[in-house]
């Protein structure tokens, strides 16, 4: 009798662990579903969930295990809410990887308070703050968005490449604007350029003539507007044009949008700028795939959302484990050359290659190429306004 009970108990334990093998692998999709960037979150989540669905359909993930994505709301501005939701997903849902968070502040809160202590890999599709480059991460943190430091450097290069070496800078008064303006300033002055004045502007004001007055007085061949096209950035350009203070503008990512063409037409011809974007066919493939689900794939970082989930799952497959350190070690191999290039929609093929012990180079929809310490090298599109239209000059 006693033996029988032991045998049963052992049997049950074995059965239990066998069942655990069949449990779905859970990953958290922690994005700012509410808050100041709430309109960007759903397409990113849809991208990530599309990758998960594709992996499930392939059926060859870690010997046939299923993947389940669990959404969590990291808000954007509330670090404690972001931490709480990540903590809950880890302790009660048992997630083994995180796609997220969206905003830089929430991302670093989730990582330092939850992911790192628990040894979980976190891949952010969209956090751009330069501070995340130097975060202590035990190798567990990755991001598919380039740091704003990179954009600042590139912008300095582009401006000097056009023979301009004296500019004024105005930036929107928040972390994004300040971070970008600072990185640009250091890169530009290091390369021998002069910044006549770097002044903040507040969004949501009706009148920017005072700001422009100061900038015009300082002078410069062009005005760098590190702001938002739907907020103060357009007001600044309008005031500068009206007073004849500047007619050449440098436009970073927050300013490059259709609204620019609508607002100013050909009155800012010759202005130029850059924003993160890539030109490979993977982007179009993914946009078409997302369009089937009525999701706008051109929405910022939707492609990175798909790629983040894909890279995370492929790294698990390559490591054949969900252990954080093992997965983290595989991420760079999966994302970078050498290996078979993998486009969106080819995850089944990628899983197959990895199972057979081959090597892949995940390209995905956003031309994923990770540099140390685990962030995107950044692909940028340089644009110029010609005849009132935003035209592509080249890709960097």
């Amino acid at each position: 009798m006693k033996r029988l009970m032991i045998a049963t108990a052992v049997g049950a334990l074995c059965a239990g662990s066998a069942v655990a093998q069949d449990d779905p692998v859970k990953i958290g999709v922690i994005l700012g579903f509410t808050g100041p960037l709430e309109s960007l979150a759903p397409p990113i989540a849809a991208g990530a969930e599309l990758a998960i669905a594709e992996v499930n359909e392939a059926g060859s993930f870690m010997n046939g295990r299923n993947v389940e994505g669990i959404r969590g709301d990291s808000t954007c501005v509330d670090a404690s809410a972001a931490t709480a939701v990540a903590e809950r997903l880890v302790t009660s849902d048992g997630i083994v990887g995180i796609v997220g968070a969206m905003c830089s502040g929430a991302t670093s809160a989730v990582f330092t308070n939850v992911a790192r202590p628990n040894g979980i890999v976190q891949i952010s599709p969209s956090a751009t703050s330069p501070a995340l480059t130097t975060i202590e991460d035990d190798g567990l943190f990755f991001r598919l968005a380039p740091s704003d430091t990179r954009q600042g450097e590139l912008m300095a290069e582009i401006i000097q490449g056009r023979g301009i070496d004296e500019v004024a800078v105005t930036y929107t008064n928040n972390d994004y604007g300040k971070g970008l303006a600072d990185s640009f300033e250091s890169a530009f002055t290091e390369a021998g350029g002069t910044i006549t004045l770097s002044a903040a502007h507040e969004d949501n004001k009706a009148d920017y003539s005072a700001e422009i007055g100061a900038l015009a007085s300082a002078g410069g061949e062009a005005l760098v507007v590190a702001g938002y096209v739907d907020e103060g950035g357009s007001g600044i350009i309008r005031a500068a044009l009206d007073s004849g203070a500047f007619d050449m503008f440098v436009l970073p990512d927050g300013m490059v949008a259709g609204a620019l063409e609508e607002n100013f037409g050909n009155s800012i011809d010759g202005s130029f700028g850059q924003h993160p974007s890539s030109q490979n066919e993977g982007a179009q493939t993914l946009e078409a795939m997302l369009a089937e689900d009525d999701v706008d794939g051109t929405s910022p970082y939707a492609k990175e959302g798909y790629d983040a989930a894909a890279v995370l799952l492929l790294a698990m497959q390559a490591a054949d484990s969900t252990d954080g350190q093992a997965v983290a070690a595989a991420v760079m191999n999966v994302a970078n050359a050498p290996g078979e290039p993998i486009m969106p929609g080819e995850l089944a093929k990628a899983l197959q290659i990895l199972t057979e012990g081959g090597d892949i180079d995940y390209v995905g929809a956003s031309d994923v190429e990770l540099v140390e310490p685990g962030e995107s090298a950044g692909n940028y599109r340089e644009i110029e306004i010609r005849d009132g239209k935003i035209e592509t000059v080249t890709f960097h």
């Binding site: 004045l197 903040a200 502007h201 004001k205 009706a206 007055g213 007085s217 002078g219 004849g244």
Partner: protein, 336 residues
């Protein structure tokens, strides 16, 4: 040429914008000061009354534009303005009937009316956002510039350009016309005189047979007209966004108080004082001084007293200084 360049730069970045802004503030402050003088409370809903008036005018302007009605080089909004004033007048009269009259009959303390007006402010704020949304609305049309910077440079051969927008010119002209009409009305007509009498001494005015409800109604109509005109001019000159009208409340009250609450002349003077101080204190004088001073003395810094971030602080500072040294305002308004 150098002093001329300095003058043009100063005009382009200080004098022209500050004059237009001052005229808009003066019109707003006139409305506030009339309410204070006659109804005896500070009307916090004034900024949102301006937003409401501007919103009605914008909707009518869009309708007119859709009918292909335009006003030549002038903005179509000027055609829609009278109807906008009428609708706004109906709104404030209805508000008075539903809200303020009740409290007036109770003869409540002014501070209660101030709080009531904040309630009205939030309701109007909600209505405007509900109807037209919170985004920027563009409704200016017609010629944008009287003269633009590039033409001016080509014309005069100076290094500095001077831009005068049509809307800035319209703002100034309209403000002058409106203020002249208002003063004529207050000083020359029987109704205007009865309003001033009511403002000076309510009880005596009642004894001499002035109908208080009529005075109040006429005051509201004038205030609605002033608010709508100020709101539309501000929207034309800058941009229409409901939130910015709420922000305008501070400089408008500063203008009214600096000039002396209850004094129409004071409101106008206050408007220009506030506008010119906001703009000159935050202007970087580097360029102007660069033209005026000999090369050796050319300033290296920006010669800016305060960063533009502190624009609103200027209104506050002036307000505090005036209240400290001349509590009744520059033009001795009412104190109670």
């Amino acid at each position: 040429m150098e002093p001329l360049n300095a003058l043009v730069a100063l005009a382009n970045f200080v004098i022209v914008p500050a004059t237009a802004y001052g005229a808009q503030l003066a019109l707003g402050a006139l409305g506030v000061t009339l309410i204070y003088g006659i109804l005896r409370f500070s009307n916090f809903a004034h900024g949102d009354t301006m937003a409401f008036g501007a919103m009605v005018t914008i909707l009518l302007t869009w309708w007119l534009q859709a009918q292909d009605v335009t006003f030549g080089v002038l903005p179509t909004a000027l055609l829609a303005l009278p109807a906008g004033i009428a609708v706004t007048a109906l709104l404030v009269l209805a508000t008075d009937r539903v809200v303020y009259r009740f409290y007036r009959r109770q003869r409540v303390a002014p501070v209660i009316l101030v709080i009531v007006s904040m309630g009205v402010m939030f309701v109007m704020n909600g209505i405007v956002r509900f109807v037209i949304g919170v985004d920027d609305q563009v409704f200016a049309d017609g010629a944008r510039f009287l003269i633009n910077a590039r033409d001016f440079r080509d014309l005069t051969g100076l290094d500095e350009g001077l831009a005068i927008r049509t809307t800035q010119a319209i703002t100034l002209v309209t403000a002058i016309v409106v203020v002249a009409a208002l003063f004529w009305f207050l000083n020359r007509t029987r109704t205007g005189k009865s309003m001033r009498a009511y403002s000076d001494n309510e009880d005596l005015a009642l004894l001499s047979g002035i109908d208080p409800e009529r005075v109040v109604a006429i005051t509201w109509i004038i205030v609605a007209a002033l608010a709508t005109i100020a709101g539309v001019l501000y929207g034309l000159d800058k941009t229409f966004k409901p939130f910015t009208y709420f922000q305008l409340l501070l400089p408008i009250f500063a203008a009214a108080i600096v000039g002396g609450l209850g004094s129409p002349v004071g409101a106008i003077a206050g408007g220009f004082v506030i506008a010119f101080s906001e703009v000159t204190v935050t202007y970087a004088f580097k360029k102007v001084l660069g033209y005026l001073l000999p090369d050796a003395l050319e300033p290296a810094g920006l010669m800016q007293l305060l960063s533009t971030d502190y624009k609103f602080a200027v209104s506050f500072a002036i307000l505090v200084i005036v209240l400290l040294f001349r509590p009744t305002g520059l033009f001795r308004g009412q104190t109670s």
